[in-house]
Amino acid sequence: MTAALLDVRHVSRRFGGLKAIDDVSFRLNEGEIVGMIGSNGAGKTTLVNLVTGHLRPSQGEISFRGQRITGRKPHELASRGLMRTFQVVQPFNALTALDNVAAAAMFAGGARSLSGAREQADAALSSLGIGHCRDHLPIRMTLAERKRLELARAWVAKPKLLFLDEVNAGLNTGEIEGVLGMIRKIAAEGVAIVIIEHLMKVVKGLCPQLIVLHRGQLLASGPTDEVARNPSVIEAYLGTRGAAAMLGEVR
Amino acid sequence: MQLAQVILNGLLLGGLYAAMAAGFSLVWGVLNIINIAQGSAVVLGSYVAYFAWRYAGLNPLLAVALAGPLLFGAGWVLQRFLIQRVIAAPVLITLVFTFGMDLILNNTMISLFTADYRKIEGVFPTVPLHFGALTLPVDRLLAAAAGIGVAFGLHFYLHRSRLGRAIVAVRMDRQTAELMGVRVEIIYATTFGLGLAMAGVAGCLLAAIFPTSPLNSAYYLHIAFVACVLGGLGSVLGAVAGGLLLGVVESLGALFVGAEYGTTVAAVVLLLMLFTRPQGLLGRAGYE
């Protein structure tokens, strides 16, 4: 068995008395595209925070590229190629789109000079279809453009693994299609991607593999069709109307 | 036995600190403002007590009924018409703003009353009570009891009265409270008024025991802040717990390190608390 890109082993996280993540284990290989689904409060974002160093696990171990990274800081993981986007976009509001991306190229991507970082940033913006925004402040960009800005920022950091936390939240169908195209473009360079999503519709076309979280626990993982037919997944989701509909689209 | 006496002294001191910290904590928790002028407001309360005693022979513990409403009114007006205008600004701005208010108040008091220390005398019996080997000065006992009593009064006011519950609601979720028809500006003004009223009350109690001077204000501010963070932000009972703890820490520090290093000892305890349990003894983490 080859070493996994990411190996999460028996990770738990408690907040006071609440177990937000309870003994979750999974592995990811290089270049893999995985969907992570679960209802609100299932622990998706907490799990991303744990893996990317924004939170410390109460228990368990995490390895990335064969090295133990449990308890490492986010900036260090970013420099090692483990990047994420945030559910709520987090741009640097007083920097232009270009410099937002250039900052990532410089600090996580290892660009030597500001001009070099800006060149990379410019290319990334154009390639993600927001070249026209390069001199705009984030506040003047639409939500869809800002989502792409976050993608660009993650991309220029040359990640090995990228977590996309509800990157489509708040976008309309057309915009989602556009962003999905960008994600395919990034994946085509061999970047492993984990897409955290509410909508099964989004992940099913994109992700061959699926991870399902429910109340902090790993309910199922594996090939997307299999997981969607898993009785416990269906049972867990039947409680909520929206989720039932969401699974229906796969079956 | 000496240790027991020192801890008792600390608790008596802590009762006063509790009153000082309660109002400061309330304002910080609800308005997300640190009121740097809180120390000077305490001194102002002390002056009310001092002059009421000097010219009317009023007992400083009763001067609470004078200083409380007076400072409440002052605080209400200050918040409603001045501080409200910068309340949404970054921390730096609100801090510097209340710092400016503090400079004005403090310098005005120095100009009017000079920096001389003034002491209320002859009100309380000088013979202390004795419990076994423990000594209890009457004035300190009364003042500490009053301090804790008033802090508890504030706590019950916040949780039982209509206005008090509106304040708590605003602290927990300003936007929802607004939607429910709570007028946030009025709540803010009332809260700031209560904060200053508590400072005034604490000032009266302090004046019963210690000499009064505007030079004390920085120290009082420091006490209020440390007690408030030790106990946990935004909770009145937390401020009481923090005040008592700080009183004991200071007394023990004076015994083992030296009274002249009071701030340093308290600061070290505070920093340890901030790094290990940032939410304080009783509070929740949250506001920055």
Binding site: E76, F86, F92 | A88, N107, D173
Partner: protein, 312 residues
């Protein structure tokens, strides 16, 4: 040449000319010399505060602590016969050495917690200085022996040193702002979580900023001590040394390179014009200025201070 390069050269040239020319022009004008020296020292403190408070967005009230520390280190060394130049260097080193661990710890705190923790640093140093009276003279203060010479020579000397220090500090600010460090500090100020997410080692960069800010402040204290000739804890650890620089930067423009220069000039002018006439109310006058400034120009004074505090 880039506009940045031109600005840096302009600062260096104008500053150099001021350092060389002003002592000559002002010779025989002790009042003006005192005024310009005060301006320069305030500018040093304002420009160094700006590195932490402006560039990084951490509301530090520790400037006075480093100022006082520098004053005492230099005074004690000079009392032991150390050359003044060495004493200035030692003061700066002491500031930086203290700032490293303090910054590393305190910069984990944010907002109000950071502000008050930084404010307490000065109180603690004041207590320790007063308590360690064998070395510091305690509350009685210290007289700097080297200052016993001709007052006019001393005044001219203090003017030149403080001007030079001010120019260097402004240039330091420019160098930081335009460097990789400054870019990182920008990101930290705007959104520390996102900064960490793109690989910015916030803890390290903040600590660097804190150290770089403390060094000129400490040297300014050393210059002040040599200039005044006598220091005591209540004077050099006065919280005003922390507040005045902040007000100056608010006046001139937070996070900008020339803001501290403009602000310090306005501040010293106001202080002289207004408060000379009401000496007993000088602190209160500053309070009035602060309140008016923030009420009249609530947004205007902080164009680059982006980090809004979050309110739920």
């Amino acid at each position: 040449m880039t506009s940045r390069g031109r600005l840096a050269i302009a600062i260096a040239v104008i500053g150099g000319l001021a350092c060389a020319g002003l002592p000559l022009i002002l010779a025989g004008e002790p009042y003006l010399m005192r005024l310009v020296t005060m301006f320069s020292l305030l500018l040093v403190l304002a420009a160094s505060w700006n590195i932490v408070g402006g560039f990084t967005g951490y509301p530090s009230f520790a400037t006075g602590a480093f100022f006082g520390l520098g004053a005492y280190v230099a005074a004690i060394l000079q009392a032991k016969g150390v050359d003044w130049r060495l004493a200035l260097v030692a003061a700066g080193l002491a500031g930086g050495i203290l700032a490293a661990p303090v910054g590393y710890g305190v910069l984990r705190l944010r907002g109000h917690y950071f502000a008050v923790a930084s404010l307490m640093l000065g109180t603690i140093l004041k207590e320790l200085t007063t308590g360690w009276s064998d070395l510091t003279g305690g509350g009685m203060g210290l007289t700097i022996a080297g200052a016993g010479g001709d007052p006019e020579v001393l005044a001219s000397f203090a003017l030149r040193v403080s001007l030079a220090l001010a120019v260097l500090t402004v240039l330091l600010g420019a160098a930081i702002k335009w460097s990789r460090l400054g870019f990182g500090l920008d990101c930290i100020r705007m959104n520390e979580t996102a900064a960490a997410g793109i690989g910015v080692d916030a803890q390290r960069l903040k600590t660097y900023a804190f150290i770089l800010s403390s060094i000129p402040s400490a040297v300014a204290g050393a210059v002040y001590a040599g200039w005044i000739g006598y220091i005591d804890p209540t004077d050099v650890y006065d919280v005003m040394w922390s507040v005045k620089p902040i007000v100056a930067v608010l006046l001139g423009g937070v996070g900008t390179i020339l803001g501290p220069v403009v602000g310090a000039a306005i501040f010293v002018a106001l202080e002289e014009i207004v408060w000379r006439n009401v000496l007993s109310f000088s602190a209160g006058g500053l309070g009035v200025l602060i309140v008016l400034l923030l009420l009249v120009l609530p947004a205007g004074v902080l164009p680059s201070l982006v980090s809004r505090k979050t309110r739920s």
